[in-house]
């Protein structure tokens, strides 16, 4: 069975890759089909993730004495209510819009906003210039921070220069390095040297 999976990966991958760089009616048609199927499979992959999460919490609910079982009950209840509402009323619909605007968005935004408080406490305790490199990093961070605020005009320009030249150089180096790593990893998958899809 492993050979079949590897063959599929290599065949599908190379067809998609050829379609990426060359134009041909047959390649276009096959590549189009592959991409359409991938789009549809995204929904099923989402289901797999959701079902897995529900399984975890259901298990916790069934083992009543486990800590957090009550919260899992609430989670499952909420998921059920929202799913039923969404499947019944559809998307978009007023109930789903209300749920999204008044529950989903405030909750997620506030979770993100909490990070600012922890950044503040960490700024005092953890961001110490123990070495020259970390001191250099903190100096640049301060320039970018201060340049963000409209306090000192000169800091705005310094911020712009720091971000445009040396930071861009560093980010570009990181981007190229990451791209090379992506190339290597993808090649290993397409040549069948890595097989994370078979267990």
């Amino acid at each position: 069975m492993r050979w079949l999976l590897t063959t599929i990966v290599i065949a599908v991958g190379f067809i998609t890759l050829l379609d990426y760089f060359f134009e041909s009616p047959l390649l276009d048609a096959v590549g189009f089909a592959f991409r359409e199927w991938t789009i549809i499979l995204t929904a099923f992959a989402l289901f797999v993730g959701v079902i897995n999460l529900l399984q975890v919490h259901l298990t916790r609910v069934l083992r009543r004495h486990e800590t957090g079982a009550g919260y899992s009950v609430l989670l499952l209840l909420t998921a059920g209510i929202v799913t039923a509402t969404g499947l019944w009323f559809g998307l978009p619909s007023e109930p789903m819009t209300w749920l999204f605007d008044n529950i989903y968005m405030p909750l997620q935004s506030t979770f993100f906003a909490l990070v600012a408080f922890f950044l503040a406490t960490a700024a005092y305790r953890a961001l110490r210039a123990r070495t020259l490199e970390t001191a250099w990093m903190l100096i640049i961070a301060l320039i970018v921070f201060l340049g963000q605020t409209p306090l000192l005009g000169i800091l705005n320009e310094a911020r712009e220069w720091v971000l445009n030249v040396p930071t861009t150089a560093g980010v570009r180096g990181i981007l190229i390095g990451v791209a090379l790593g992506t190339l290597a990893t993808a090649l290993r998958l397409l040549l069948g040297w890595d097989r994370p899809y078979s267990n």
């Binding site: 189009f32 605007d101 503040a120 005092y124 570009r172």
Partner: protein, 681 residues
């Protein structure tokens, strides 16, 4: 294939030497050791590998008469008549007593039973009827004592007349038959055997004296000695050198052997049995055997223990003679064990008694470890010390200094309050930073110029690629951009690569449309919903454009039903793509999948976290322009002359940033000073 006895390598037939180790190969026609399955040459008596006896000590191996083809009974042996064994070559070195035994062993009867005497038992089982009846007649064993059981078993034996062989039947004293003459020849100790055996079977009918004494004794097949397999070569008698010393020790004395054999009821069993009980049978280790009417004389008299020259001192005598012959035959010959060392402890007990270095056991395992007491204190002192330690009360740990925990909580509360005040207060102090927002030469200005120079009624694709968590930062940018686009009367086609994007897009578009007043959904803007598949979906969009069957998010109608906007199906009709990227990754996906192939101008409004990457793409001309974060939105609002939420919020953001900077600087200053103080101390 011939298997090498040294390394086990299989060699071709006909090979003389092993192809792997070079050892001489033993032809497969030799003997196979019953213990280790090693093939041995035909002439071997003992296995060359393990020393087990290859030639069993059976009567057929020592007979010098050609035996008649005898039936082979039993479960594992073949049923065809065996070839008469070849007479053993006369050997001058063979012991006389063995030779005599060989000559006395009679020929075995043929396989076919005589018609007058049908077989008394099933040949496949090999159990005589009397034994079967004995088993059936056995009373419940758990109710009787062992003695009672034996008596009842003896009484229950119903041996039929036909079951008793001639040599076991008591010879009638009044008849002049060869049996009488045989009886007269037989020693007492042999005669007592049938009498003793006849006593338990007293209930059985007395065998008739008219029992014909046939030349063929009625020996049941199961009693007959097992003939060797016809496949095996005839056994070779052992020479003097091959007989082990412990077997020689059992040799009867010459006098006992030379005595004439006493007659027996059956002629076939009479010859060869000495008149006097041989010495080797008289010696018995059991000196405390009580007089018993069942025991012959030769079993009553204990054999005095005779030390053997090869037996080392201290060998327990109880194992001599206790082992049956077939086990004793398996004892390896000393010569066959090349690795026996001459030094080492001698095994004193067990079947391997007398051998050296058999099972070297470390003494430390067997002996208990003894703790040597302290030389200066007696053991009682240790016990008292231990008791004192156990009885001593456990010292409670000093309570943890609560000051540090209180200090941490206080500090955290202070920081949180400071940060909150830094954000709240600017909302109550308006226009705190409005005029000092710089817009000239910023990336935002380039973006503003790009949008401002769009032709009237251009078709613009707006990608809402941020999740609700980032909406606090991205929505101000989206609002100001959409407002500007609507002011330019551009047709807007909204799309999103996140499943929550369409909902966000709809809210922003509807809010801006309401604010503008004359923007109609379906005519001036449409929301084409969720573009699933991440890279695959984006690539599909880049290569194929918007499919005509694309369903919109609000009214769920295909794109073709929006004629004013259906031109978006081709990228050539799209003037600008504006991506609202909440994360650097989603920006990169557009840059990699769409930008190289779509051939369309792309600009972006990104989160502050994605700004460094956006700058790199801008420098590489993949992105035409961008704006980032709240400051970018505020700059855009100022450039649009429509200050709004962004401008109001910039002040709060600036003061919060200052608080953060102050905390970083203070933390480092305090740390440096405490480090210096530590060094000076």
């Amino acid at each position: 294939m011939i298997q090498c006895t040294h390394c086990g390598t299989k060699n071709r037939d006909g090979s003389k030497y092993c192809s792997d180790c070079g050892a001489r190969l033993v032809p497969q026609a030799g003997l196979v050791c019953p213990m280790c399955s090693t093939p041995n040459p035909v002439e071997n008596v003992f296995c060359s590998k393990c020393g087990a006896r290859l030639v069993p000590l059976t009567a057929a191996t020592i007979t010098d008469k050609p035996a008649a083809p005898a039936p082979i009974k039993g479960i594992s042996l073949p049923s065809k008549p065996a070839e008469p064994p070849a007479p053993p070559p006369p050997s001058a070195k063979t012991e006389d007593w063995l030779e005599q035994l060989r000559t006395q062993i009679p020929d075995q009867p043929t396989d076919e039973p005589s018609p007058a005497e049908p077989p008394t038992h099933e040949e496949t089982e090999g159990i005589p009827d009397w034994l079967a009846r004995l088993r059936a007649a056995e009373p419940p064993l758990d109710e009787l004592s062992p003695g009672e059981k034996a008596r009842q078993a003896a009484a229950a034996i119903q041996i039929g007349d036909e079951d008793v062989p001639d040599w076991l039947r008591p010879a009638p004293a009044e008849t002049e038959s060869p049996r009488v003459a045989d009886t007269a020849r037989m020693p007492d100790w042999v005669l007592e055997v049938p009498a003793a055996q006849a006593a338990p079977s007293s209930a059985a009918p007395t065998p008739s004296a008219q029992e014909p004494d046939t030349a063929e004794p009625q020996v049941p097949a199961w009693f007959k000695p097992i003939e060797p397999s016809p496949d095996l070569p005839p056994p070779v008698p052992a020479t003097e050198d091959e007989i082990p010393d412990w077997l020689k020790a059992l040799k009867p004395s010459d006098e006992a052997l030379r005595a004439p054999a006493p007659p027996l009821p059956s002629e076939t069993l009479v010859e060869g049995i000495p008149a006097e009980k041989p010495a080797w049978l008289t010696t018995t280790p059991y000196t405390d055997i009580s007089e018993d009417e069942f025991l012959p004389d030769w079993l009553r008299t204990p054999i005095p223990p005779q030390p053997t020259p090869t037996t080392p001192e201290g060998v327990a005598p109880e194992f001599r003679g206790e082992l049956p012959d077939w086990i004793a035959a398996l004892k390896p010959a000393e010569a066959a064990i090349p690795h026996i060392v001459e030094t080492g402890p001698v095994e004193t007990t067990g079947p391997l008694a007398g051998l050296r270095s058999v099972l070297p056991l470390a003494a430390v395992i067997a002996e208990p470890h003894r703790l040597s007491p302290a030389p200066d204190k007696p053991p009682a002192e240790h016990a008292r010390l231990f008791e004192a330690i156990v009885a001593a009360p456990v010292a409670a740990h000093p309570p943890r200094a609560r000051a540090s925990t209180r200090g941490n909580t206080l500090f955290r509360a202070l920081v949180y309050i400071l940060l909150t005040l830094a954000i709240v207060i600017p909302f109550f102090v308006p226009d705190l930073a409005n005029t000092s927002i710089r817009t000239f030469g910023t990336p935002t200005a380039d973006l503003y110029d790009t949008v401002a120079t769009l032709p009237f009624d251009s078709l613009v694709v707006l990608a809402f690629d941020y999740d609700p968590g980032s909406s606090g930062e991205m929505e101000v940018q989206a609002n100001v951009l959409v407002r500007h686009l609507m002011q330019r009367r551009t047709r807007i086609v909204a799309i999103s690569t996140l499943e929550t994007g369409p909902q966000i897009a709809q809210r922003v578009l509807d809010t801006a449309a309401r604010a503008t007043g004359n923007y109609v959904y379906g005519t001036d803007y449409v929301n084409l919903g969720y573009l699933a598949g991440h890279e695959a979906g984006l690539r599909q969009l880049a290569l194929a454009g918007f499919a005509p069957t694309t369903i919109d998010y609000v009214q769920r109608r295909p794109l073709t039903q929006y004629p004013n906007l259906s031109a978006v199906q081709s990228w050539r009709n799209v003037a600008l793509v504006i991506q609202l990227a909440g994360t650097p990754e989603v920006l990169q996906k557009w840059m990699e999948q769409v930008q190289p192939r779509a051939g369309v101008k792309i600009v972006a409004a990104v989160s502050a976290a994605a700004e460094p990457r956006a700058r790199a793409y801008r420098e590489a001309k993949q992105l035409q322009a961008f704006m980032s974060g709240l400051m970018g939105a505020a700059q855009y609002e100022i450039l649009s002359n429509q200050p709004g939420l962004a401008v109001i919020s910039v002040g709060a953001q600036s003061t919060a940033s200052v608080v953060l900077i102050a905390l970083i600087i203070m933390g480092n200053l305090f740390w440096l000073s405490s480090r210096n103080r530590g060094k000076t101390k």
